[in-house]
Amino acid sequence: MSTRSFGTRVKRNVDPKLLKGEGSFIDDLDLPGVLHAAFVRSPFARAKIKSVDTDYARSMDGVMAIYTCDNIGNLDMELPLLIPHDCMNDARTQRTLARDDVYHVGQAIVMVVAINRYLAEDAALMVDVDYEPMDVEVDIEKAILPDAPLVHPTHPGNIAADLTQISGDPESAFARAEHVTKIRVEVERSTAAPMETRSVAAYYDKISGVLTVWDGTQAPLTVRGGLASIFEIDEDKVRVIAPDVGGGFGQKVMFPHPDELLVPLAAMELGMPVKYIEDRRENFISSNQERKQIHHIELYATKDGDVIGLKDFFLHDTGAFIPYGIAIAQVASTSIAGPYRIPNIHVQFQAVYTPTVTITPYRGCGRPQACFAVERAMDQLAEDLGIDRFEIRRKNLISDDQFPYPREGLIFADGLPVTMDSGQYFKALDLIEEKIDVRNFPRMQEEARSQGKFLGLGLAYYVEGTGLGPYEGGHIKIHPITGKVYVNTGLSGQGQGHDTVFAQIVADQLGVNVEDVILTEGDSGAYDWGVATFASRAAVVSGNAIHKTALIVRKKTIKAAANMLEVDEDEIELRDGHAWVSNSNRSVSLAAVATATNPLRYAFNEAAKAATQFAPASRHDGPALDEGQAPGLEATDYYSPPAATWAYGVHAAIVEVDEITCETKIKKYALVHDCGNMINPTIVEGQVMGGVAQGIAGAMYEKVEFDDDGNISNANFVDFVIPYATEIPKVEMYHLETPTPLNPLGVKGVGEAGCIATAATIASGLTDALREFGNPKFRSTPITPSMIHEVLSSGSSG
């Protein structure tokens, strides 16, 4: 293969098995004699547990074990605070199984293990728990008031964390400003809702003493480290495998959910494989969620629209516990100025405990909320000053020659200062203006109006800090029999196509076909250094680690091949799975090179004969391997990013409101994005499209609804409305590629890009469409037909 694979639309290696139903998701694993776990979960948002009676359940047919907080040994504890930060005082985390208190509907109290799931659920129903329900407040604005019931008596005002970050000199900027725009925006709670719910299976092998855990996780090595630490066994005695995982979107990154500890515990105690497959209701009431924030944002500007200061205060709903620290709120804080210069920033948040499912990142992780706040404010500023929405942005965008653009004083979620590294922000805006056909829009709007339809043009710009550290590794080995290239990295995939993009990176360096590069990821038994898949980081961090490793293997291969072919190294070319002498027909296969570089005692095939001790090419005057030389064509290397690299993009939409049904139709949706060099444009587009769909879902449909007692009233797919194909429009995508200077491949992350600006774009479009109805503002999401009906009928804002 002489053409470059990086940057091309290579089809995915993983597809055929998934298309034929031959994937291996956790519940597909054939574990002989496997036992099944089911949970007793709290029906109350906040209650004292007076008693737990498991006697009858224990006597039921097929029940193998029942676990409460009283018989789980040292697992009866508060689970780890994963990301400590000074701004949290005595951060609260969940207990493995509830003791004395429950803090949200769905919290695990008892785990039942039985010979099948039906009997496990039967027994769970027969566990008798006596509760004393307590008062609750689920509204975050009310929860911080002095007389609100407390989730944790230790935390007055239900404040879990309070952090202010300052960049520049905001106070003097605020004083200097000639105009200020102040708005309040609210983004609702949603949930990742991966098609495969969370699941875990475990088996303990008494002979080897190895605990094997199959976990549908984004963070297999984190799970491995956590299990070893909590069970106090060496890491090498715990193997964690993330097999095929049916979507993650952040929900599967946090460890541990209680089942991830209790299923391994049961497997060790019972000496049998045990599995737990969460059901859909459990995914709603016990797996982590995200999004609810209320921002009060203020833009301080000159009369001609130069924004010189930004002040934002927001409340962040963290649910009943805060195990993942302030990551989401911190990302929102540091993304709040978007793509704009705004040199003076004062941003403060308070994280608020509510007796609801715990909040940890869901695709976007604070970015959609920050984008919604600043972009709705930019639209309002434009209106206040009588400036066009594109123009107000143009006045404030960071220009190409201003990169790298630091925001001194703002610390990102990786603990490093925020610096926007590169981009062509103006070019992206110009491009979207052209593609959405701004010039012709007023005519279209007028025409539609004459037919009783309301058209609006929506616009929103976003930035995305991606590719966070600390590091990932890559391991590559060329196999001596087939010449195939085996690649490992520590993080895991949930559908992103890692096996293909990483193969592309390696194929280019080693001159092999993409299909001949075989990736094993997410298996601590195969490779065990690394972190996890989150924050749009796999392509950036693992991608560059694998690239660096491939360069080493390339060098080794060329050196060995030059030796075998008796030419200088610079005469060797790697292509078609062979090392060639340039401009000749002399070559040697990579399999043969891999064989020859491993000095052998025994010969099993023709190629191996050449590597044995009496072969002519073998060394007869000293050791077979030089001091420091390793056998074979193999290497490991790492990449640790100096800082996050900032991707960006701009969305625009033309929306149409139907006056009768109050339905919003997206007539046209276009976006420009820039994630640096694209490894595989098809996969990039797939990521962006999936993100846009989740963005539209949050903008118009999805909201986890709590009643006053803290019950989720739509914990199923009937009432929690995930869009089908009938709700998601066609999206036109335009790419810019500004390589980041921060890493060798020049790539930025793209996983979360699509979902960030969508809600702001739709809200902007609806505001434009319905201006004549009392100038509604659409500052909360999801924007439902009921809200539009209210606007159309009363003329007031939604």
């Binding site: 995915r12 034929k20 139903g21 998701f25 098609m195 059901d279 089908y724 009938t726």
Partner: protein
Amino acid sequence: MKMIRNLPSANSFGQTSKVSLTVNGTNVEKEVSVRMLLSDFIRHELGLTGTHVGCEHGICGACTVIIDGKSSRSCTLLAVQADGIDLRTIESVANKDGSLHPIQEAFHECHALQCGYCTPGFIMNIVSEFENNEKIDTTDEGIRELIAGNLCRCTGYANIIEAVRDAAEKLQKKR
């Protein structure tokens, strides 16, 4: 094609009943619990794990199979209701030599899957539509309606729509 498992299991609990049906062309006779869902029967009794379960209440379509020629949700049926039916699952769709069916091929060509969990349900629904309709409406709106019984959380559907169009046009040309 994956072999059907035929072992007694821990799942024949409580009151049972005998079911006899055709699965991917093979006759199967089994004693099953009267409570067992058809989706569990397919996955854990027959070992055909390509049929996935996403919501357990008939909304997401991940568990779609073809029963007597029509696409059906296997999570809202009991195994005992399957007595006498002709059942086809995702494992029957590819050709015997392992090569892909045109709709599977089109999904691969168009990048119409990411995590692949919902994919078998989509494929079964689309295969059923192809088999039962002389002419497929290949406009965007037509295809959106065709797949409106299946949820996908990864792709945003755009590439699935392209894949359906691509396969439908190829199949209609053949006819």
